[in-house]
Symmetry: D2
Subunit: 351 residues, 4 copies
Amino acid sequence: MAGNTYGENFKITTFGESHGAAVGVIIDGVTPGVEIDEAYIQIQMDRRKPGQSSVTSPRKEYDIVHILSGVFEGKTTGTPLFVMLHNTDMRPDAYNDIQHAFRPGHADFTYLQKYGIRDHRGSGRASGRETAARVAGGAVARKLLERRGVQVLAYTREIGGIQCQTFQEEIIEQNAVRACDPIAAAEMIKKIEHLASIGDSCGGIVECRIRGVVPGLGEPVFDKLDAELAKAMLSIGAVKGIEFGEGFTAAAMLGSEHNDAMSSSGFLSNHSGGIIGGISTGQEIVFRIAVKPTSSISATQQTINVKGEEQLIKTEGRHDPCICPRIVPVVEAMACLVLEDHYKRQAAMHN
Amino acid sequence: MAGNTYGENFKITTFGESHGAAVGVIIDGVTPGVEIDEAYIQIQMDRRKPGQSSVTSPRKEYDIVHILSGVFEGKTTGTPLFVMLHNTDMRPDAYNDIQHAFRPGHADFTYLQKYGIRDHRGSGRASGRETAARVAGGAVARKLLERRGVQVLAYTREIGGIQCQTFQEEIIEQNAVRACDPIAAAEMIKKIEHLASIGDSCGGIVECRIRGVVPGLGEPVFDKLDAELAKAMLSIGAVKGIEFGEGFTAAAMLGSEHNDAMSSSGFLSNHSGGIIGGISTGQEIVFRIAVKPTSSISATQQTINVKGEEQLIKTEGRHDPCICPRIVPVVEAMACLVLEDHYKRQAAMHN
Amino acid sequence: MAGNTYGENFKITTFGESHGAAVGVIIDGVTPGVEIDEAYIQIQMDRRKPGQSSVTSPRKEYDIVHILSGVFEGKTTGTPLFVMLHNTDMRPDAYNDIQHAFRPGHADFTYLQKYGIRDHRGSGRASGRETAARVAGGAVARKLLERRGVQVLAYTREIGGIQCQTFQEEIIEQNAVRACDPIAAAEMIKKIEHLASIGDSCGGIVECRIRGVVPGLGEPVFDKLDAELAKAMLSIGAVKGIEFGEGFTAAAMLGSEHNDAMSSSGFLSNHSGGIIGGISTGQEIVFRIAVKPTSSISATQQTINVKGEEQLIKTEGRHDPCICPRIVPVVEAMACLVLEDHYKRQAAMHN
Amino acid sequence: MAGNTYGENFKITTFGESHGAAVGVIIDGVTPGVEIDEAYIQIQMDRRKPGQSSVTSPRKEYDIVHILSGVFEGKTTGTPLFVMLHNTDMRPDAYNDIQHAFRPGHADFTYLQKYGIRDHRGSGRASGRETAARVAGGAVARKLLERRGVQVLAYTREIGGIQCQTFQEEIIEQNAVRACDPIAAAEMIKKIEHLASIGDSCGGIVECRIRGVVPGLGEPVFDKLDAELAKAMLSIGAVKGIEFGEGFTAAAMLGSEHNDAMSSSGFLSNHSGGIIGGISTGQEIVFRIAVKPTSSISATQQTINVKGEEQLIKTEGRHDPCICPRIVPVVEAMACLVLEDHYKRQAAMHN
């Protein structure tokens, strides 16, 4: 319980269900005197919102940013910044058919087991809609990180088995799947459109690179920087795994291969992914996350209802056949939150 | 800073360096009235201690358990349980050669960057020795979980590229590498012995299965059960990745393949690894972690000293050529801590 | 920083400034399946709102309760409950005169020192308006405590030197100052009206009695029940002191007088105020708080401006000449939050 | 549960019972590179230890400080500092008589209610012995505060109804009761000796002054500096109340009297006690705590046993007839912990 807060010195607390009135976030611990406005946050919201392209959910949420506290005359005051996002395109009735049955791959069953009660409208709190509040909070963290020269960049590495072969940073925001390889991107889009047409879905891999982080960030023992990033990423709905640097490949490497040697001009390799002993090395931080295929598919599936009786189910609604494109800004937001919090923890220690 | 505490309602706080006087743990939030004694905790300590076999470090630490508070007449009192483990085989002088240089793959560089000061004796706080305190804390959590019928089992799945082909639970504690396949185990041991003879090291994959967990455990949004497990596992020194259920394989699956259908007798598959929406399904929880090759190798490597001057380095000392066998009880300990904490959080919500 | 959250297992996070758009609260850790509606919370809001009588601020805030998440079909879902209260009677321009000067007794100076920036409109975040969010959160805690048979009752004991001589519980909500003695109440009202007429203010003492708490609630060592209540009460703006049971009188008592003897039918006295060793005894919990005179007075006072230059100041605005009547529901709200949190902590320990 | 940790960015976690093997403290979040040694901490331990004079308990605890981690070559490393204090003068058998009965004024009854089990030896965890660990932790905080120019000074203001009439700082540590008036001190000592001779005890008032704190320290809303100090003080066993500045006297003052006016050379008075709106003003912080008479008296008292049967009880043992002299260093320790934590929180916000 009480798991709706993230961070220690820089902290967000979120609320809101998929088909309720609004989602929102209280951001506490904001450095005072920093210029920020709704337009800045809106940029990130627009990257996450549904309906951006043919490969995302057609739900129409404009996610207009409303800052209701914590900013005065264009600057942060140090008091909690509250951002609210009204839900505008709710269709709770669309879910009446499934209110008594558990959609496979969804949290319907587990929520009911946990709480003994369930808001069935569009997954309620388990909906990806909840991540809108994270992105708003992450945008404020991003603003603070800009002052530190930190840049957080996520993008699609693989979708439906199609892997990027090149890394072209400039094209990431230019294609609908946010992939780093234009040829792979085109294939991915075709694949997603095909799967959507047959009522199926697919997963993928999203990669994140963080640049400009000072060496020395991260807390041993339990709050290692990679441990915190892992928690932050696995807290995003569809994420099933994370790896840093060589990741699972490291399992088959030798120490003499994996160790990053050093010269007077710095590290000679970055197998570690920019974090050693839970602390940043000053190199690029690199990690990848595994994104499962969207659970909501319109194919007929076998399930049970709340009485335990077997039945067939088709999940209607307006879903993303692959969540990777829209998870990218959420990954960045969570990474920003972790980093700003750790910068503040570091400041606390040394001051 | 202040990152040496883990958990909310069941909480451990640890201290101790590799070549200091002792390591220890304060365990807070222990259910009162539960029978526990030093012998019970000792069993887990013995699984983690060095010197168990030809494939582990020859350092001799007996890790004798001393409970100094929180137990009265054989039962927990509800007040903090303190366990101390004296370091007995310290050889701080063995590290004099490397006190001014950074060992590749080690946290030497990052600790100095973070703190501006470094206890160079055997990695100080960054040493795997720190995990002894975790195992002691985890043993207490394990005791509480036994009363709930929860069983946590970790084992080696892969070492040095050699993968287990079978799962034979009964042989795990019978072989030096704690693998689940006796044939693979024999090969792994041979490989490790060879690498040790040439001064190199290797990594591997450790798998964990958790049985008997009630459905409904785990906290949305940020404190999802898999997110917490991910943090707990990535907080262990050599771990570079984690995946649940199908994990990274899920990235290339279709929704129609990955979704776990349900029948009146329960789930028909467990692609999710026992957790959906961050909450336990009641199935077996399954995850795997990637363990990097041990950083300490005696081969000559290129590095720099604290002045930034290039030099060659050979890491002497008594190290594990592969940490998988000894990481197994640490993985179990951390999983126990996460689970007991979440059981208590669940109780808090419903009471 | 990040001090806008209260509680561990039952947790509120608030936002909002005096003359901003709204104040609000996210309540996390709510037991699921409990019936609650806006009307229930509104009752408490109405007790706190300004403009109730001749002795309170004439500001007109209706504080209409809007629940925007966490309740589904009239019952709590276990997910965060969000309550928003729009500010309707803001007059930020009324504060233009004082935007560059520090009002004596106000947090104007300290906020500017802390943040380097200040929202001068009606004290911003330092305004008593912030407590509206607490009362909304406390109302949800009160609902949960009702199921436990716990009753929290606060009232005015003394105002402007006039002390209650009797304790008549039934008249507390019948008089404008919420005193427990009708004769004293009448005198208090007269005194406040007189002070208001000459532009001055006064303080008082508010007492709180909590009934029906089980014995055994509260956490040694640092989170003693009285310690948590003390923090909760001192966190309310105008409170300058707290005492439990005999309180400061105990300083002049003998052990033989102060110790509460026991008979087979229970304690024979309650000098301790219902808490011993930080844990509830099962008796009535009794504490009193000292409330300072309202800082906002219209008499001319000596102060400085932000440049450090001396000037005279008159605080205009619509203020309470004595805050006791309106602090009563805030005291109850905070006590409810502390108690519900401790009940949940107790459940976590024993389950 | 899990209430044995104090602080956020500077954090202590303690363990240990009165008649167990040891008490100890893990101090996390210590600024690295600061010179500290056992002798520095020992000074504070010696001020708290029993057996200092005719007016304190004759129990002989030398409380020899052992630092077992977190210090390397005389300097803090930033990793957890662990201090252990062995119990040397345990006489658990002295408590056999009272193991089945509840001593009036003691936590015997409440602990049993809370935990269902009780370590009866000398109050177990509820003993004042627990504060030894706090003083060790506080000494480390004090060291860090010295670098900030902060000075924390507590002393006895009143004992057994005898009040100090003068404030002579230099004599505080020169008299056995740590009073600030030598004439009152002599009377207090006489009174305590008399009460000890007849098997009774008395309470008193301890005052604390904190100098050199920057303006701007403390967190609105819930973590106000006075709220945190109140919690810290009320968490000390025998404390029944706290007041800041004018405290309870403020309840009968007018706003025009209580407001601290400002001139170009600063505040013209300090009725607020150095904290306004929960944030330090830069003036001296002043608070007083009410200390109840020691519960342990050798006079015969009426009580019940664990079966609920009435009986008479005489509390033998070696107790302080008035705890004020020995509570002084504990008050200072807790104040140091609160302040260092808040300095670190402030640094986190602005960096």
